[in-house]
């Protein structure tokens, strides 16, 4: 008899190998380097922490530091997948439910796959455990075994939360609000930084070690306080997490995404004002360009993932910079430049859905563009104009938020935000057109989270974004160097002209590539995934 879990893992392994075959070794080098750099940093941090806690003198600090450190591990473990909109690997229930696999076995795979979302924390906890193990001042070194149930506890909670989130995400209208709420909740530390930590929270942090939380129990056990009661507490939490994880997983198995999606949908829905908005391109451009822009406006606004990112731009984008904006005595930038900074950040967010993979939401329907009697350059132009329209809308929304919260705002600063966003967009659009034909990837528009661009490209973005921002940074450099707004506007004008030239050159390159490789591009846009979904 074959074990279905082994079969699933084997199929996923073959899927990854075949992907490498299809895309060549080059596809793996950049992502591999980026992964190495990321986890290498965490591994170094783990070694440092391990070294720190291995010192005998640290024992006195452990009762305060360790419970709060493990609380931070717990928060990071559970929240990071939500904040990065990247929930890691999970089994694709839609494809696997047809097979006779007991739910218990599927749950085991699901929990194992949760390891993929928090390798960073596994490294940290390993470093911590190793350091405590060799600390000669601790009485019961086998207390470090407490990290094992602590890890299992985190995996199980993470599996449960993921399943709950997935179901929420499937609910029409509600999903964006939920994700936005989670993201805004994540900005609480920023707000606390500005407002100061309130009294009850201070008490909670200082009283951590005395409480019966799983992180407190783990910390006390790991520091050598080996009592049976603490083990019981930790195991009790782990068993509760097991029930929570399995309960949520069972609910997901019974969940009907199509029915959830249909809730809140009313037949014959009509919004005349929105329809008038869609018709605006028709007044400014002639067909087929106008109809392509109109199609983009309609489809992007109906795409949950796009709506979420757009909302994030003027909410989360503003909150995340609050500590800098509200810092007394000024931060690294003069107060007047904060609006442009937030606008630039909003463009980074929009990039994933509007620049880097412009055919991603079209998926296999992209072949229509090659059948229509018009040059494909019109399609790029239409998609780019629609993206610029949303950039304009995003900046306008940010300015409204700015004004609503009475942050420093003048007409010139608002114009500056538009100018910076437009100039930055020219470079991003140019690079995005090229990346869309070199690294296309089909995206499910209904899913609000997950990476919207190919892995290789995501690694390259670490270079592309800073490079595209250089002209903008030069403009601000000119302002500070010459203490002159004229210098700023002159450099921005030159940067915009260069951006336009870059855009045309990049577009030519994209057009040449798409003609040569249309088969491969269309095939990639039609592809599905393996038994394990990576998001």
């Amino acid at each position: 008899m074959s074990d279905p879990i082994l079969a699933i893992l084997w199929a996923q392994w073959r899927t990854l190998l075949n992907f490498r075959r299809g895309h060549g070794m080059g596809s793996f080098v950049l992502p591999a380097l980026a992964i190495l750099a990321w986890y290498g940093t965490w591994a170094m941090l783990a070694v440092t922490i391990g070294f720190f806690v291995s010192q005998p003198g640290v024992r006195r600090m452990l009762p305060l530091v360790l419970p709060n450190g493990l609380l931070a591990v717990f928060v990071y473990w559970q929240l990071t997948p939500l904040l990065t909109a990247s929930m890691g690997a999970s089994i694709d229930l839609r494809k696997l439910l047809v097979f006779p696999i007991p739910a218990r076995r599927l749950f085991e795979v699901e929990v194992l796959l949760r390891l993929s979302t928090c390798i960073e924390m596994m490294l940290l906890v390993s470093g911590l455990a190793a350091g405590l193990l060799v600390n000669p001042a601790l009485p019961h070194r086998n207390g470090t075994l407490a990290f094992l149930p602590f890890i299992v506890f985190n995996l199980l909670v993470s599996a449960g939360l993921r399943n709950q989130m997935e179901r929420w995400m499937a609910r029409r209208r509600v999903r964006e609000l939920i994700v936005l709420f989670v993201l805004l909740a994540a900005a609480v530390p920023q707000l606390l930084f500005v407002t100061g930590v309130p009294g009850p929270l201070r008490w909670f942090v200082s009283a951590q070690a005395q409480m019966w939380w799983p992180w407190s129990a783990t910390a006390r056990l790991a520091s050598g306080e080996g009592t049976a009661a603490l083990w019981l507490v930790l195991l009790g939490w782990t068993i509760a997490a097991l029930f929570f994880g399995r309960w949520q997983f069972a609910r997901s198995l019974r969940f009907d995404a199509a029915a959830a999606e249909s809730r809140g949908r009313t037949s014959g829905e009509s919004r005349p004002w929105l329809d008038r908005l869609y018709r605006v391109p028709g007044m400014l451009f002639s067909d087929p360009l106008a109809v392509i822009i109109e199609k983009e406006l309609r489809s992007l606004l109906r795409t949950p993932r796009f709506r979420l990112v757009f909302l994030m731009g003027f909410t989360f984008g503003v909150i995340v910079f609050l500590p800098i904006i509200l810092r007394r005595g000024g931060g690294p930038l003069p107060p007047g430049d904060h609006l442009a900074m937030v606008s630039g950040y909003a463009l980074l967010l929009l990039g994933d859905v509007a620049f880097w993979n412009v055919f991603g939401f079209d998926r296999s329907a992209a072949q229509l563009y090659f059948l229509l009697p018009m040059p494909i350059s019109r399609v790029f132009a239409g998609k780019n104009i629609a993206a610029l329209f949303f950039v304009f809308l995003e900046i306008t929304a940010i300015i409204c938020v700015w004004a609503a919260f009475r942050m420093p705002l003048t007409a010139v600063k608002a114009a500056e935000a538009y100018a910076v966003a437009l100039t930055f967009s020219l470079y991003l659009l140019g690079a995005g057109n090229v990346s869309s034909v070199y690294y296309p990837r089909a995206i499910n528009p209904e899913r609000s989270t997950g990476a919207a661009s190919a892995g290789r490209l995501r690694a390259m973005l670490l270079l592309i974004y800073p490079a595209a921002a250089i002209p903008i940074l030069l403009a601000y450099g000119a302002r500070y160097a010459f203490e002159s707004d004229t210098a700023f506007w002159s450099v921005i004008a030159i940067a915009a002209a260069l951006g336009a030239a870059f855009y045309w050159v990049a577009l030519d390159s994209a057009l040449e590539r798409i003609e040569r490789n249309k088969d491969k591009i269309l095939r990639t846009l039609s592809e599905g995934e393996g038994p394990v979904r990576l998001s």
């Binding site: 074959s2 279905p4 079969a7 084997w10 199929a11 097979f99 037949s267 393996g530």
Partner: protein, 252 residues
């Protein structure tokens, strides 16, 4: 002793999406060893019915019994006995045909050597063994249907649920698939099939049912339908009220 329960028994099955009933009070019995055609216009509820039968979509109300076992209470036991050819692709694009069939075989509990051997034989039978390194992503639509059909029989199911199995398949492939299915029926398997190709249904099926706007509007042995000069297409169009004059389009 042979089980006398029907292969499929559904009673008052409903599936509601929002304010719309995709399936509305469907009651149906399909005898064992029957080649059953389940017909209906687009959006009639055929695919939703199949998804409910296999347990992919929970019904809003009603009961389902497959091969004498209640769904979803005996879901695992039922799934072991079912072969599914879905309408949408449940294939893993980044596997080769052989890898996919081996995967499916192992998921149904076949040992690895057995799954591998059957995969090889099925690829040969379905003429998909031309390029062993070809990924499913590179398959044509007809090839995808063929690999889905091959996957549905690898564990020798007693009941086949097939949603448009011949869609996109060439004449040679379709003939082979039909022969294979008829042979399965002769061996005692039951086939529940949806298709828009009514000639195929007419030729293969013992019984047909027509569903329209989620409701069963007709069920009959194919022989009874053939009384008179009417073809299945005539009966179908008349039943679902699709007869209408082609409007004159001035611009055409």
């Amino acid at each position: 002793m042979e089980d006398a329960s029907p292969a499929i028994r559904v009673a008052d099955l409903r599936k509601i999406y929002g304010d719309k009933a995709a399936v509305d009070g469907l009651t149906l019995e399909v005898p064992r060893g029957c080649f059953f055609g389940f017909l209906g216009p687009n959006g009639a509820g055929k695919t939703t019915t199949i998804r409910m039968l296999i347990g992919l979509t929970p019904p809003s109300s009603g009961s389902i019994e497959l091969l004498g076992l209640p769904m979803p209470e005996q879901a695992l036991a039922i799934k072991r006995k079912i072969g599914l050819v879905p309408d949408e692709s449940l294939l893993f694009d980044r596997l080769t045909g052989a890898e996919f069939l081996e995967f499916v075989g192992r998921m149904y509990g076949l040992g690895r050597p057995v799954a591998k051997e059957r995969a090889r034989e099925l690829l040969n039978l379905f003429e998909l063994d031309g390029n062993p390194r070809q990924l499913i992503a590179e398959y044509s639509k007809g090839m995808r249907k063929r690999i889905a059909m091959a996957a549905s029989i690898i564990h020798r199911p007693e009941l086949f649920l097939m949603d448009e199995p011949f869609e996109g398949v060439d004449a040679v492939g379709a003939r082979m698939m039909k022969d294979l299915l008829l042979d399965q029926v002769r061996q005692g398997a039951t086939i529940f099939l949806t298709s828009h190709v009514l000639e195929v249904v007419e030729r293969l099926c013992d019984r047909v049912a027509i569903i329209h706007e989620g409701r069963l509007v007709m069920e009959s042995a194919i022989g009874e339908l053939r009384l008179g000069a009417d073809t299945l297409e005539d009966v179908f169009v008349r039943t679902v009220g699709g007869e209408r004059a082609i409007e004159k389009l001035d611009w055409l």
